[in-house]
């Protein structure tokens, strides 16, 4: 119950960022595309998936896509980065539906998680980027 209450507080809209640190040394995209192989993992057929896929394939040399409900870690072989997109949090009744954790604590490939559901995944992995 306490956890649920904290989620409600945390769901407050976080719409922008105003301070940033760190730097990146990535090289400029050659001939318009970045030389990385990216796997987008989301829900097939959703407008959201089309949005991300259309955008990412314009910018990366290879873009794959996979179904969040079916993917296994081995499916990400051959990709440099996995983009894990659960969409917005799903709430049924008074409970938040916990996202399926596909890539566990032993997974070693780079992963980018998105939004509140992504933060829950980080939380379940014991990462500081988790929700609470």
């Amino acid at each position: 119950m306490k956890r649920q209450a904290l989620f409600v507080v945390g769901l407050a809209a976080m719409t922008l960022c105003y301070l940033a640190i760190a730097s990146c040394e990535s090289s400029a995209p050659a001939r318009g595309k970045i030389g990385l192989r990216v796997l987008y993992v989301g829900y097939p057929g959703m407008e959201r998936e089309k949005d991300f896929v259309g955008f990412l394939e314009k910018h990366f040399t290879k873009l794959g896509k996979a179904d969040l409900d079916k993917i296994e870690p081995k499916d990400a072989e051959g990709f440099d980065v996995v983009v894990l997109d659960y969409g917005e949090l799903i709430i049924k009744g008074n409970a938040i539906v916990s996202p399926r954790v596909v890539f566990g604590r032993e997974y070693s490939r780079p992963v980018l998680t998105i939004g509140a559901a992504g933060a829950l995944v980080c939380d379940s992995l014991g990462l500081k980027t988790g929700y609470l």
Partner: protein, 129 residues
């Protein structure tokens, strides 16, 4: 992170300091307004609960020993000033914004692309260490 491969050019605004910030340590010393920039487009007033949502984790500092970096903090009306919107630990980068690219700002889209490039460097680190 804000220069390569895409130069991120935020459009800055001044937003009222959220009341919730005041109740945390150091909150009373914050100015009345904060300089912010939008990563995703919203249609509602600053400071209100808006869609698309986002998520922040509580305020934490970058820590080499933990292989963790706070990359951007997020304006929020639920937690403290300094709550982390974009952060990395080991091979996971958490992007706290939920909008798809078509609903990001131009600066937000570039920042998102740069984040993908950035996390690509961390092959081989695992969460469970």
């Amino acid at each position: 992170m804000f220069e390569k491969p895409y130069k991120v050019e935020p459009v800055y605004e001044w937003w009222e300091t959220p009341l919730n910030y005041r109740s945390y340590p150091g909150g009373k010393e914050l100015p009345d307004e904060l300089k912010v920039w939008r990563v995703q487009k919203t249609t509602e007033k600053p400071g209100e609960t808006t869609r698309p949502y986002g998520a922040v984790s509580r305020d934490w500092k970058s820590d080499k020993k933990l292989d963790a970096e706070a990359l951007a903090v997020g304006y929020n009306n639920g937690k403290m000033s300094g709550a982390v919107a974009v952060g990395r630990q080991r091979n996971f980068l958490q992007w706290g914004f939920s909008a798809p690219p078509s609903n990001m700002t131009d600066a937000g889209r570039k920042f998102f692309l740069n984040c993908i490039c950035y996390i690509a460097r961390f092959e081989g680190r695992v969460p469970g260490t």
